[in-house]
């Protein structure tokens, strides 16, 4: 173990010195305390070098104390839980934490690729675009792997994530984002009005800046004040306090996305707890109290480990009782940073020098600094830094250049309000000269901003503004807000002189530390003609990746503004989009991964089919029996061939419960069906079913199926499995919007009825043994539909329909009887060798018969294309009729539905193959159509196909080529009529 906590103050801070936390970094073991972040614990243990930079592999240290961290990205955990690019500054220290530095090889201290920095002249802005251009063949095979190895940001785990994630929704009246001074007060005033309040904060400890505040609030230490309010809020039944929760996006209708890190602060989640939870928070009003982020000044060597934001120095000293260094210097342009240093000095830090770019600084600050023995250099600039980690600075003053010893350089260029969420609906931030920062512009509806996030600097002002904004939000919703007291805190004057970049400093001066973008790169981009900040971002990568330029955006565009001679508001800022901080994919998926990716629908005979040895396949949401292999069968084709042969020779059964089933009742059902189907239904007799084709409004085929008339005002429609919901929705639309005057009541009965099809010459014999009534050809003729009972009194609907081309029936029973019906049919058909078949055999038989299915009902075909042209009534109007007459859809050259057989009958056909005339070159201009469905026909003993080819029905007997560049095949096929079996339909009517 290293010398532990050598930089830890002996007292103070919001850590629990009685609770140690052992952890390791790059294999070295250290110890921290409860209340530490990984960053504070590393600093406490004297670890200053934590990573290598993205492009140049320069050594980097800890730069901030929050979510804005650009440098201290580590790999956390090991094995399947390994997680790259974790910010050490927001990682709550837990016992057993294992972290590894990333983007270095072979070690952090000695990095081979740091040679990249000598290539820096070639790796500047836009180097990807300039360097890796030619030859194009190198893009994927050579350049990309090299770039990926050199410019990595850590390694993701390769194993399956062992943790689980979940999603949740919460509703509230007022959502308060951020639990700093403004957020706590906003939540408190809103909560006291009785409004439902959610207070979300990304830290594990509510309080925000109060936790790093040295002074008192309300006659108690600031952190104690924060804890008191947080405790009151937690005790209220109408308040939910969510710590470790980042609100990352503002969406429509007052919906906010938030990520709760439920178990990230533990080595392994507690039993049955998720790792993270994705929240969808629906809030009538929201208060953004996200605070402000300090920004640095750009100067040569500003990326050296030891250079740190001034506020971060304050946070480490005050909150974590850690001295980031032994000898601190400050480089700043504002008074706030001075106060941070004075407070740090009072807490036990040693601040030796203050360098301020301003020639004039408030005399009381100078007096206070000098009283503590701090040397003050006014009108001075840091122009260089030295040391592997920081050892000294070069400072240019009016009287020349001098070298100053310091192991920590606190930097402050002012503060930028965290306006990000205010931009998620397209609002643009506005420039505020007083604080030289962007403040919120137009906010998403219902969102107000409070405190530092709106540019208010000063603790007392933030407390007051938070309280008032929370009260206003509650009042706007009609709540009565009781009078509230806000503790008085005297705010010192805030003074800042905008200053961005030390021109003429020595060495690389970084604007964006995470992406290794230097001030020079901004200059190159400018020279090459990039003016827009959005283009500057894309070209230089400034402001990209995990930190999204929290500490670099404003500085980058300030430098661009000075180059172009425009003002900062004229130059504008890049827009902020969700997510505000990275969101893991696991959280977005929640419960829905693996087999739970989406719900699975099971047929009523699922367990029965399983017992029969079925192989299942997902068809949409349904899991259906694909085929039923038997011992000794070598592949699916052999199984399917047996199933088809058995049906054609005797009888088989299949569960068709997945079809959509819609109950239609009313006086006007016939008239309604006439309007939604292309063919006539008004004259359909009771006890009969009819095949129908429906078009979309645009004239293309939507779906097909049969509709049966059970009684004068009662019809039952079936739809394809795939379109069940769509057709129901379509019919509802027609009734609610187009023809509300029609008396038609729709009910979905898809789930109520199990439906089993039996087919084959013995089908009637089997049905007769199961049905309670007469099923003779006279009682139940082809296309007949009757209600009755089966299996001694089970209510049933019997339809004489056929998809296979054989004598066929469909038997519907209440779903609970589905499996029993399958068993009864198996028993009844035993003497005929009844065979269960799956959807593969069903598909083979429908192709043999020449029926269209999903591959043909593709959403691109017209009724004419599919051979239903003559079915379309000319005596009535129906949906899609007018649009189907458009020249493009009525063009006689359109590919139309026919069958295909290979000229060499031993050849296999391939669905998807395109048709070319003989001698035509294989190019799009010569495309004649394509093969939609193929099958091996056991009936014919060779492969057959269905497809769409130009003027197909006029070309029967013609030979064309089926060209399949995907599989590298091309064979000759003959166009034929689409019915390969029993084209006269003798079997059906038998």
């Amino acid at each position: 173990m290293s010398a532990t906590n050598r930089n830890r103050l002996s007292a103070g801070g919001l850590i629990d010195r009685n609770q140690t936390r052992g952890f390791s970094f790059d294999g070295t073991r250290h110890r921290g305390y409860a209340g530490d972040t990984l960053a504070s614990a590393l600093l406490a243990n004297g670890v200053r070098l934590v990573g290598r930079s993205f492009k140049y592999h320069r050594p980097r240290g800890i730069f901030s104390a929050g979510a804005e961290e650009p440098n201290a990205l580590v790999e956390l955990r090991t094995g399947a839980r390994r997680e790259p690019n974790t910010r050490a500054t927001v990682t709550e220290l837990y016992d057993g934490l294992e972290a590894t530095s990333q983007n270095r090889w072979p070690s952090l201290a000695l990095d081979a690729l740091s040679l990249n920095r000598f290539l820096a002249p070639f790796l500047g802005a836009g180097f990807y675009y300039k360097t890796f251009m030619w030859p194009a063949a190198f893009w994927e095979k050579v350049y990309e792997p090299i770039i990926r190895r050199a410019a990595g940001l850590g390694r993701a785990a390769l194993e399956e994530d062992p943790d689980h994630y979940e999603k949740a929704t919460a509703f509230c009246d007022v959502l308060v984002i951020g639990a700093g001074p403004a957020g706590l007060m906003a939540a408190l005033t809103a909560a006291r009005s009785g409004a439902r309040v959610i207070l979300a904060d990304e830290d594990f400890l509510p309080g925000g800046g109060l936790n790093a505040e040295a002074g008192d609030v309300d006659r108690q230490p600031a952190p104690a004040f924060a804890a008191g309010i947080a405790a009151e809020l937690a005790s209220l039944p109408n308040v939910r306090v969510m710590t470790r929760t980042s609100v990352f996006g503002v969406y429509d209708g007052g919906t906010y996305g938030a990520l709760e890190r439920v178990s990230d602060h533990l080595a392994v989640p507690a039993p049955f707890q998720p790792r993270q939870r994705l929240w969808r928070i629906v809030a009538r009003r929201a208060v953004l109290a996200a605070g402000a982020t300090e920004r640095p000044i750009v100067f040569g060597g500003n990326d050296r480990p030891g250079v740190m934001l001034a506020g971060a120095v304050g946070t480490y000293v005050q909150r974590h009782a850690v001295l980031p260094g032994r000898n601190i210097a400050l480089f700043a342009n504002n008074d706030g940073a001075w106060r941070d240093m004075l407070a740090a000095q009072a807490a036990g830090a040693h601040v030796e020098t203050i360098v301020d770019v301003r020639a004039e600084v408030a005399p009381e600050l100078i007096a206070a600094a000098q009283a503590k023995g701090i040397r003050v250099l006014k009108g001075a600039q840091v122009i260089a830094t030295h040391g592997r980690t920081l050892r000294s600075l070069e400072v240019a003053t009016a009287s020349g250049t001098e070298r100053i010893a310091a192991d920590t350089l606190a930097v402050s260029g002012g503060w930028s309000p965290c306006v990000h969420l205010t931009c998620h609906h397209g609002g643009k931030p506005a420039w505020n000269e007083d604080i030289a920062a962007f403040v919120p512009g137009t906010c998403p509806p219902g969102l107000s901003v409070a405190g530092a996030a709106k540019g208010i600097l000063g603790l007392g002002a933030c407390l007051r503004d938070g309280a008032e904004t929370g009260a206003e939000s509650a009042r706007a919703l009609g709540f009565t807000v009781p009078a509230h007291e806000v503790p008085e805190v005297a705010d010192a004057a805030f003074a800042l002189t905008p200053f961005w970049h030390v021109e003429g400093s020595k060495g690389a001066a970084f604007v964006d530390l995470q992406n290794d973008v230097t001030a020079k790169d901004v200059g190159i981009a400018h020279k090459e003609g990039f003016r827009s900040v959005e283009l500057l971002k894309r070209y230089t990568t400034l402001g990209m990746a995990t930190d999204q330029g929290r500490t670099s955006n404003v500085t980058g565009l300030a430098i661009m503004a000075s180059l172009t001679g425009a003002s900062i508001p004229e130059t504008g800022t890049t827009i902020f989009r969700p997510p505000y901080t990275p969101v893991s994919m696991g959280a977005l998926a929640g419960h829905h991964r693996g087999k739970d990716f989406r719900p699975v629908r099971l047929t009523p005979t699922h367990e029965w089919a399983r017992a029969q040895g079925a192989v299942f396949i997902e068809t949409g949401a349904w899991l259906r029996a694909q085929y039923f292999p038997r011992a000794g069968e070598k592949d699916w084709l052999e199984t399917v061939t047996r199933e088809v042969t058995a049906v054609r020779a005797s009888v088989g059964l299949i569960d068709v419960s997945t079809f959509g089933k819609i109950d239609l009742q009313g006086r006007d059902v016939g008239a309604f069906l006439d309007r939604v189907y292309i063919n006539g239904f008004a004259a359909l007799a009771v006890g009969k079913a009819r095949y129908g084709v429906m078009l979309r409004e645009d004239g293309l085929v939507m779906d097909d199926g049969t509709t049966a008339r059970l009684s004068p005002e009662h019809y039952v429609m079936t739809t394809t499995t795939a379109n069940a919901a769509k057709v129901f929705q379509h019919l509802e639309f027609c009734l609610q919007v187009l023809w509300p005057e029609l008396d038609v009541a729709l009910s979905s009965i898809s789930e109520q009825w199990a439906q089993i099809a039996i087919a084959g010459p013995r089908a009637r014999d089997v049905l007769a043994r199961v049905a309670d009534g007469d099923v003779s050809n006279a009682a139940l003729p082809f296309m007949g539909a009757v209600e009755g009972t089966v299996m001694d009194g089970v209510k049933a609907r019997l339809f004489r329909l056929s998809f296979s081309g054989e004598l066929g029936f469909e038997i519907a029973v209440p779903a609970r009887h589905g499996a029993a019906l399958a068993q009864a049919l198996m028993q009844a058909g035993e003497t005929f060798g009844i065979t269960p078949y799956g959807i593969e055999a069903l598909g083979v038989m429908r192709i043999e018969k020449g029926h269209v299915s999903g591959s043909e009902l593709s959403g691109q075909t017209t009724a004419g294309d599919l051979g239903f042209g003559r079915m379309a009534s000319t005596k009535k109007d129906y949906i899609g009729r007018t649009m189907a007459a458009r020249p493009g859809l009525a063009d006689p050259d359109r590919p139309a539905f026919v069958g295909f057989r290979p000229v060499d009958l031993s050849r296999r056909l391939r669905a998807g193959a395109h048709f070319l005339n003989r001698g035509a070159a294989p190019e799009t201009a010569n495309d004649q159509g394509y093969m939609t469905s193929v099958a091996y026909s056991p009936h014919l003993g060779h492969w057959i196909g269905l497809g769409l080819i130009t003027r197909g029905p006029e070309r029967l007997g013609e030979r064309v080529r089926a060209y399949d560049p995907v599989r590298g095949e091309e064979i000759e096929v003959e166009i034929c009529a689409p019915g390969f079996i029993d084209p006269e339909g003798v079997r059906l009517r038998g």
């Binding site: 689980h164 979940e166 999603k167 949740a168 929704t169 919460a170 509703f171 439902r196 039993p271 049955f272 707890q273 998720p274 969808r280 629906v282 929640g590 419960h591 829905h592 087999k595 739970d596 989406r598 719900p599 699975v600 629908r601 099971l602 047929t603 009523p604 005979t605 699922h606 367990e607 399983r610 299942f616 349904w622 899991l623 109950d663 009742q665 009313g666 005002e713 509300p740 005057e741 029609l742 008396d743 009541a745 729709l746 009910s747 009965i749 898809s750 789930e751 109520q752 009825w753 199990a754 209510k795 209440p814 779903a815 609970r816 589905g818 499996a819």
Partner: protein
């Protein structure tokens, strides 16, 4: 009852079968109890054109309930009537075997009635953590201070269509399509494991 107490409450369970009765997830008193009772008799009533008000009144009088044409549940001893859309009611009864027939006789040509006894699986959720569990799937406000006994909704939970209503202070009843029973139960177990979930499946082995 089996005790499924590994870290993953769904470990070892087939995804295409309704999980067996048992206690899943965290130790101790379960935060949620899920009961899948024998399905009551269910029928869907859709008022024909112009008869919504009349049908609403007839349903109320027949079952002695305050039925309104809104998304709410009128709960009584003889039946429960749940509004699922304008003029659309799901009627549930434990005592009327031919519920659809009874309703046809009651409503005549004023409504279309369809049997739905086998279309749904009933889930009764009870226990302190029920709203927290539902919030992990439902996208509507089921805060128990907002969603009161007698309130109903037809909505989506974990991509599955659900009609739910709050029966009393402690109990929430959900109707889920029969084909989705296994997937929905898996969602309940995965989401309720943190609280401890007891599943009592009165229809186990069906289908």
């Amino acid at each position: 009852m089996a005790d499924h107490s590994s870290h993953d409450p769904l470990a070892g369970l087939r995804f295409d079968r309704v999980p067996p009765s048992g206690t899943y997830g965290a130790d101790g008193e379960p935060g949620v109890t899920v009961t899948i009772p024998e399905t009551p008799f269910i029928a869907l009533v859709v008022a024909r054109n112009g008869f919504a008000e009349s049908v609403t009144g007839r349903l109320g009088r027949a079952f002695g309930l305050e039925v309104a044409d809104r998304t709410g549940a009128a709960i009584g001893a003889a039946a429960t009537v749940v509004g699922t859309g304008p003029g659309r009611f799901l009627v549930l009864s434990k005592t009327e075997p031919d519920l659809a027939g009874t309703l046809r006789a009651l409503l005549g040509s004023e409504a279309a009635v369809s049997e739905q006894d086998d279309a749904y699986v009933t889930f009764d959720l009870a226990g302190e953590k029920t709203p927290d569990l539902l919030a992990k799937g439902a996208l509507i406000d089921i805060d128990p201070r907002v969603f009161l006994p007698g309130d109903a909704a037809t909505t989506v939970i974990a991509h599955i269509g659900v009609t739910l209503w709050r029966v009393d202070e402690a109990t929430w009843r959900l109707l889920v399509a029969r084909s989705l029973e296994a997937s929905f139960t898996r969602f309940l177990i995965a989401s309720g494991a943190a609280f401890g979930l007891r599943l009592e499946n009165g229809t186990a082995g069906r289908g």
